[in-house]
């Protein structure tokens, strides 16, 4: 699993690629929670290049969602077919905001800057 992080207009963007499975989840969770603690409450997790995700990956997403809720922040996900499939299977699509691309996610969050 590869994690890349960048910021754009106070929006944190995490790009994940490869397998989002239990072996890497503790480290990824730590990184994402650190970004949320230090960030401005707007986070994109781009998983377009994630080839596999299990329930521990879902747990990292739920933890990020809850942490941002506490900050009155906003989490936007970009999914691959594998990620979308598991999110729908676990009904988490009913709480997560999911957009089709990182560009679309940035547009939505940039439009809400200052809200």
């Amino acid at each position: 699993m590869i994690l890349q992080h960048r910021s754009h207009n106070d929006i944190d963007i995490v790009q994940l690629s490869g397998r989002f499975a239990m072996a890497d989840c503790a480290e990824i969770n730590l990184s994402i929670q650190g970004m949320i603690n230090q960030g401005h409450g707007k986070l994109i997790i781009d998983m377009e290049k994630v080839t596999f995700i299990d329930s521990s990956g879902c747990a990292v997403l739920v933890a990020a969602y809850k942490s941002l809720q506490l900050k009155a922040g906003r989490l936007v996900l970009v999914t691959s077919p594998a990620v979308q499939s598991l999110i729908e299977l676990t009904r988490l699509h009913t709480i997560f905001e999911i957009l089709p691309s990182q560009v679309a996610a940035l547009e939505v969050l940039e439009a809400s800057v200052g809200e």
Partner: protein
């Protein structure tokens, strides 16, 4: 020429250590085997996911996240049915948890829901055994040396 769907019955046995680092390579192997047998990416992906969830549970609950214990996976393809039998020698369950959906804000507890959704049937049993099948690990690592826990996952295609 024999197409994948006409392949003869095949059984393969894989074994990994109870280390979480071993789960992903096994998952990839299961996905490849299932894809070869079924020509269905959806079916293969679902079987990989079910096996990964089951083995995550074994590593964390049966073996309390301790490496050095065996997990054996028997992969069987017969009569358009994939049958995967996962055996461990860790702490047993009385029975698998009900596959209920965790609340949306729960960070754990989705594994059995996922397994249940990905396969047509699953069965769990605890059987007596004289000695664990590998016989390669020292006795001190055998948490449950006289019992084997067997989870069977079945999916038709």
């Amino acid at each position: 020429m024999v197409t994948n769907h006409q392949m003869p019955p095949v059984m393969l046995t894989l074994q990994i250590d109870s280390s979480i680092a071993c789960v992903s390579p096994l998952g990839e192997a299961i996905q490849s085997l299932c894809l070869y047998a079924t020509d269905s990416l959806e079916c293969a992906s679902q079987m990989q996911l079910a096996v990964v969830e089951a083995i995550n549970n074994i590593v964390f609950h049966a073996y309390n996240n301790q490496a050095g214990n065996p997990i054996t996976v028997k992969w069987n393809n017969q009569n358009r049915q994939l049958l995967i039998e996962i055996t461990d020698f860790g702490d047993s369950m009385e029975e698998p948890p009900l596959p209920t959906l965790a609340s949306f804000d729960a960070e754990n507890g989705r594994g059995w829901w996922i397994i249940n959704a990905c396969v047509d049937e699953y069965h769990y049993k605890v059987v007596a055994c004289e000695q664990q099948s590998t016989g390669q690990l020292p006795d001190k690592h055998q948490k449950n040396p006289k019992k084997a826990n067997i989870l069977t996952l079945i999916k038709k295609y």
